[in-house]
Amino acid sequence: MNDYSITILTFIAIQAIVACGLNVIVGYAGQISLGHAAFFGIGAYSSALLTTKAGLTFWAALPLVILITGSIGLVLGMPSLRLREDFLAVTTIGINFIVESVFLYVPFFGGALGLGGIPSITLLGTRLRGPKFLYLCLVLLGLVLLISRRFTKSWAGLACFALREEETAASSMGVSPIRFKLLAFVLGTAMAGMGGALYAHLMRFISATDFGFPLSITLMSMVVLGGIGTLWGPVIGALILGVLPEVFRPLIDYRMLLNAAILLLMIRFQPAGLLGEGSLLRRLFRRKGGTSNG
């Protein structure tokens, strides 16, 4: 496999991690988040700053990155998640724009020039590049999937599913809406943060525009395409949306249009996604037992 393919796959793996985080928020807890890229960025910038200005290694910084991103998710989530669905949608868009502006205009974050000189990751003396970096990403993706799965099997996960379906009824059964929405949100943003850290150390250079609203849309598209609320959905979505531009590369001028058209067709005719309930794919491989979450 050549270097280029490995890089693409690494991108896909990182985006899958971030998309899994979004899936926890949107798919499991039913909360809309159109600003998820902001948390990807917060993770990236945190790791970049901790490893450059504070001199920590990637590994030492990683727990902090997850903590920071999750905490910011908590702080931003607390007022936002109390809002009604439509307000929440616009608020998350706003969060994306505002966070991007902060990265762009506050000098501490490097401003328009971004942050460079981010060190690569070393493990036991070897620098992780190329295939080794990909393996790291895949391992962490596996971890994220394991955590997601474990979440769906926990009472907290069940509470989130109930909230997603019928908030009033769930509340009448002891599920505190704000508590569990926040839990899902923090988990989701923390995962995005981890993806961000990987991104920063892959690119070695980041700037605010990497984490703008268009990326949030792409992430949402991945989750929708693969199947909201399914375990593997975000991975499939990331894979397809990561590979598609490469497939359409010859049609370079029409690439964006095709992406948008595919998203439109998908949402119009198969809103449950490729792996979702009632989808074409599912009906082709008919299975008994219901979905992974109920």
């Binding site: 439509d86 949608a89 608020t91 502006s101 205009y105 949402m220 029409y254 249009l257 949402i267 119009r268």
Partner: protein, 287 residues
């Protein structure tokens, strides 16, 4: 002082244009509870169609109605093919559909109209005036005149006509409106016709004022105007106008006077968050 007043007038003009776009959003949200991001594509289409017809005919009098008609058709097409079939799904489904339409349309504009900035060299039928030393350009004057006329017309339709009553009834409760003989489907489509036609006018005004028509001119209004309808109170038409005017003035004065290290475009969202914290239903929102 004179400069301040000129800035203020600029701000009000910006606000007037915002309100023309935001009204369409508020109308659609009111009747379908959908965040009509694709509305910005309609606005951009208005600019392009207007420019095209103007280039062919040399007449704004032809270009404006042509653009309004084309955009009305576009708006209804989006409603029929994307929103109405998706109404039974959770709200983020039509929202993503809307975003997909918007992104696709941006690309269509780029492919058909070219990625460059086109100029819109129309002569406005107003001449500038000067009041006590304050210069009001023809562009600003026409924006005032046109927006005022459009807003007045819209106000009249919504409050005084049967259609307006049908629109208000359908936004309150579609089923009950149906039992009272209101054709919900027709009313909804007419809502899109009105909102889209108004957006087309905004597109042409902006195209002429800045002398720029380009594929991504809708990107900023797409999301900024969402913040505006939230600030105004989702679905409130007067709220949309008020929020738009306030933002127009706020943004203009901010660039002119303050030195805040945040870009103009974030102001709408910051204002939105501030308003939501203070008044969760928006400035003029009900319930």
């Amino acid at each position: 002082m004179q400069l301040f007043i000129e800035q203020l007038l600029n701000g009000v003009a910006m606000g007037a244009i915002y309100s023309l776009i935001t009204l369409g959003l508020a109308l659609v949200y009111g009747i379908l509870r959908i965040l009509h991001v694709a509305h910005a594509a309609v606005y951009t289409a208005g600019a392009y169609v207007g420019l095209y017809v103007f280039t062919l005919s040399g007449s704004l009098l032809l270009a404006v109605p042509a653009a309004m008609g084309a955009c009305a058709a576009l708006g209804v097409a989006v409603e029929r093919f994307v929103y109405t079939p998706l109404l039974r799904f959770p709200p983020f489904v039509p929202l993503i559909g809307s975003i997909a339409v918007f992104l696709a349309m941006e690309e269509v504009f780029r492919l058909v109209g070219g990625p460059y900035i086109l100029s819109f060299p129309a002569e406005l039928p107003f001449s500038g005036i000067t009041i006590r030393g304050v210069v009001v350009s023809p562009a600003i004057l026409s924006i005032y005149a046109v927006s005022a006329a459009v807003l007045l017309l819209l106000w009249f339709i919504v409050t005084k006509t049967g259609l307006g009553l049908a629109m208000r009834a359908t936004s309150q409760d579609r089923d009950i409106a149906g039992t009272m003989g209101i054709n919900a489907s027709f009313t909804i489509s007419m809502t899109f016709v009105l909102g889209s036609a108004v957006a087309a006018v905004a597109g042409i005004l902006v195209g002429i004022y800045y002398n720029q028509v380009y594929p991504t001119m809708g990107a900023v209004p797409a999301y900024k105007c969402l913040a505006l309808i939230v600030v105004g109170g989702l679905g409130s038409l007067p709220g949309a106008v008020l929020a738009s005017l306030l933002l127009g003035v706020g943004e203009t004065l901010l660039i002119g006077y303050a030195n805040i290290p945040l870009p103009r475009d974030s102001l709408a969202f910051i204002a939105m968050i501030a308003v939501l914290l203070w008044r969760p239903q928006g400035l003029l929102g009900g319930k």
